[in-house]
C-alpha cells in the first residue's frame, strides 16, 4: 500500500517538475492524435455531407457498416496498417513503418468510422427544411452542405472531440506500427504499458494521470458543448 502512495507522490512530482521525458511523451501523444483527428476531419466532414445529401443504392447498408466499425478492435487496425506498410506490403516503399507517420495513419483509420458516422447523424438531426430554405435562396450544393454542417456545429464538434479521445487513448495501433521507440514513437499509452511491465510504476502513474487529465478535459468540453 505504501508503495502505491510513494509511487503516486513521485508521479505527481514528475508532473509538477515538468520532467523532460514526461513532457516529451505527452507532447508527442498530443501532436500525433491532433494531426490524426484533423486529417480524419478534413476527410470525414465532406464525405459525411456527401453521404447525407446524395441518394444512392446501399446508403442504409453503408451507414450501418460504418456504425459497426465504431468498436473495431485497435489491434485489428494495427495489423491491417502493419501489413500495408511492412516492407513487402503494398505501401512498403514509403518506409513508414515504426514512424510517427505510421501511427497517424493508423489512428486516422481507427477514427474514420466514428467521425463519419457521427457526422452523418449530426447532419440528419438538422431539419430538412433548412436545406430546402438554403436552396430556395440560391445556395449551391456545397454551400447548402456547409450551411447544414454549420447548423449541426455542436454535434459535429462533439464528434471530432470524441474521435480525438479515441485516438489518444488507444494503444494497440501505437505499439504495432509505432514500435514504442524511445524519443521517436513512444507515446503516453505505449510508455505506460512498457514501463509498467519493466517495473517503473512511477513514470507509468505520471503518464496515466496525464492521460486521465486529457480524458477529463475532453469530457468537460463535450459536456459544455452538449449543454
Amino acid at each position: 500500500m505504501t508503495e502505491i502512495w510513494q509511487g503516486l507522490v513521485r508521479a505527481i512530482e514528475l508532473i509538477v517538475t515538468l520532467d523532460a521525458e514526461v513532457i516529451e511523451i505527452t507532447w508527442r501523444s498530443l501532436t500525433i492524435s491532433v494531426i490524426a483527428t484533423v486529417l480524419a476531419s478534413v476527410l470525414c466532414l465532406p464525405l459525411g455531407a456527401l453521404v447525407h445529401f446524395r441518394r444512392f443504392r446501399g446508403k442504409r447498408l453503408l451507414i450501418s457498416l460504418v456504425q459497426t466499425l465504431y468498436s473495431v478492435p485497435t489491434v485489428v487496425i494495427g495489423l491491417l496498417v502493419f501489413i500495408l506498410l511492412s516492407r513487402s506490403g503494398p505501401l512498403g516503399g514509403l518506409n513508414l513503418l515504426f514512424t510517427p507517420a505510421a501511427m497517424v495513419v493508423g489512428q486516422v483509420v481507427l477514427i474514420i468510422p466514428i467521425l463519419l458516422g457521427l457526422t452523418i447523424s449530426a447532419l440528419s438531426s438538422v431539419d430538412r427544411t433548412i436545406a430546402d430554405t438554403a436552396r430556395s435562396l440560391g445556395a449551391s450544393g456545397p454551400q447548402t452542405a456547409v450551411l447544414v454542417l454549420t447548423e449541426a456545429r455542436f454535434a459535429v464538434t462533439a464528434a471530432v472531440i470524441m474521435a480525438f479521445g479515441r485516438a489518444i487513448s488507444e494503444v494497440g495501433i501505437a505499439i504495432m506500427v509505432g514500435g514504442n521507440i524511445r524519443g521517436f514513437t513512444r507515446v503516453l499509452t505505449t510508455a505506460i504499458s512498457l514501463e509498467t511491465s519493466r517495473g517503473d510504476v512511477e513514470l507509468s502513474m505520471a503518464l496515466g494521470l496525464i492521460l486521465l487529465l486529457i480524458a477529463l478535459a475532453v469530457n468537460l468540453t463535450l459536456n459544455r458543448i452538449q449543454r
Partner: protein, 362 residues
C-alpha cells in the same frame, strides 16, 4: 413571351396524383395568387416552380428555357428567383446573417451585402434586432425575416407559400401590408399561394384556383368570384347557394331551370336538357314580409330555418322548397323580426344568378 410557362406539369408521390396537367402562363411583372383548400397541391406546385423538386412529367419554361437542364443551369435559374417556404425556418445565426445569406451565396461583396441587408431590415422594421439570434424571434417576426431574406435578393420571381398562414390576425395584417408594399415597389413577378380568398383578391392581378391537383379556373378575381367555372370553384369561393337542376326551357337568354323543389329563372344561353348548377350569392337574395312587385323574376315563399351572425350581417337560412341562404344587414333582420319559423318572401333577379354547366349525372 410569358416569363414562366408550365406544360402539362404532373407530380406523383407513391403512385398518387398530386398535380395533374398544370398549364400555367405567367407574364413578367404579374402577381398571381394560387388559392385552394388544404392538400390541393399548392406547396407541391410552388416547389416545382422554385426548382426544389423535379416533376414526374411535364416541363417548366423559365424565360423561354426549359429548366430540366444540368444542376448548374438549374442553380443559375434558381438564383433568379426566391422562394419563401410555408414553414419559415431561421438559420441558427443572427437576423443580419439570415438576411445576408442569399447575397453571400451569390458572391456579393461585403459592402454591397451590408447596404442591401440594412435597407431590407429597415423595411421590415427589424433593424434594432439585427444582432439577435433569429431562433429567438416570434413567429410573425420570423415570417418577416423569411420574406426579407428573399426580397434582399431582388429576385425576378418571388414565390411565397401561404405567407400569412399560422399568424395571428395582427401579424398576418402586418405581413400582408409588407407584401403589398413589396409588390408596389418592385417590378418582380410574384406567385403566392393562400387559402384566404380575400387575401388573393387584395394582392393579386390574377387568381388561379387549385383544387385536387388541378387548376379548373384562372382569371381575374372578378371572373372567379362572379362567374366561377365549375361547381367546385363555386363552392371554394364561397357561393353558398348552388342549386343543381336541368334546363326546362330557354327564351331570349333566360333559361328556366327545374331544381326539384322549384323553378328558377336565370340569365344564360345553355341548351334545354342541360344539367346545370345555378349559383346565387347570398348577398343578392332579398327578404321581405310581403310579396314585392319587383322586376325580380324569382320569387318564393319560405320559412326561416336558421339564423346566424356574420359580422355586421345576418345569415338567414330559408326553406322555400329548396334551401336558400340570404345575407341581410342586422338592422333589416331586426326590422323584419326574423326568427326561426318566420314566413318570408324571398326574391332574387335572374341576372343575379350564374349558371354552370355540369356533367350528366353519373
Amino acid at each position: 413571351m410569358p416569363l414562366i410557362e408550365t406544360n402539362d406539369l404532373c407530380q406523383r408521390y407513391d403512385g398518387r396524383h398530386i398535380l395533374r396537367n398544370i398549364n400555367l402562363s405567367i407574364e413578367a411583372g404579374e402577381v398571381l395568387a394560387l388559392i385552394g383548400p388544404t392538400g390541393a397541391g399548392k406547396t407541391t406546385l410552388l416547389r416545382l416552380l422554385a426548382l426544389l423538386d423535379t416533376p414526374t412529367s411535364g416541363a417548366i419554361f423559365f424565360d423561354g428555357a426549359n429548366v430540366a437542364g444540368s444542376p448548374r443551369f438549374r442553380l443559375e435559374m434558381r438564383r433568379r428567383m426566391a422562394f419563401v417556404l410555408q414553414k419559415p425556418m431561421a438559420f441558427n445565426a443572427s437576423v443580419y446573417d439570415n438576411v445576408a445569406s442569399g447575397l453571400r451565396w451569390r458572391g456579393l461583396g461585403r459592402a454591397e451585402v451590408r447596404d442591401q441587408v440594412e435597407r431590407v431590415l429597415e423595411m421590415i422594421g427589424l433593424s434594432a434586432d439585427r444582432n439577435r439570434n433569429a431562433r429567438t424571434l416570434s413567429g410573425g417576426e420570423m415570417q418577416r425575416v423569411a420574406i426579407a431574406r428573399a426580397i434582399a435578393l431582388d429576385p425576378e420571381v418571388l414565390l411565397l407559400d401561404e405567407p400569412t398562414a399560422n399568424l395571428d390576425p395582427v401579424s398576418a395584417r402586418r405581413t400582408e401590408e409588407l407584401l403589398a408594399a413589396v409588390i408596389r415597389q418592385r417590378s418582380a413577378t410574384v406567385i403566392l399561394s393562400t387559402h384566404d380568398l380575400a387575401q388573393g383578391q387584395r394582392l393579386a392581378d390574377r387568381i388561379g384556383v387549385l383544387i385536387n391537383g388541378e387548376i379548373p379556373q384562372i382569371g381575374t378575381s372578378r371572373d372567379i368570384f362572379v362567374s366561377p367555372g365549375s361547381r367546385e370553384v363555386a363552392e371554394f369561393v364561397g357561393v353558398e347557394n348552388i342549386l343543381d337542376g336541368t334546363v326546362l326551357s330557354s327564351a331570349e337568354d333566360v333559361v328556366t331551370v327545374d331544381i326539384g323543389g322549384g323553378l328558377i329563372e336565370a340569365v344564360s344561353d345553355v341548351a334545354v336538357g342541360q344539367r346545370v348548377s345555378v349559383c346565387v350569392r347570398p348577398e343578392n337574395v332579398t327578404l321581405a314580409l310581403s310579396r314585392l312587385s319587383s322586376s325580380a323574376r324569382n320569387s318564393f315563399t319560405g320559412k326561416v330555418t336558421w339564423l346566424s351572425s356574420a359580422g355586421p350581417l345576418a345569415r338567414v337560412h330559408v326553406d322555400c322548397g329548396f334551401p336558400l341562404v340570404a345575407l341581410v344587414t342586422r338592422r333589416s333582420a331586426a326590422d323584419l323580426d326574423l326568427h326561426i319559423g318566420r314566413q318570408v318572401y324571398v326574391t332574387f333577379k335572374a341576372s343575379a344568378t350564374h349558371v354552370i354547366r355540369t356533367e350528366r349525372d353519373s
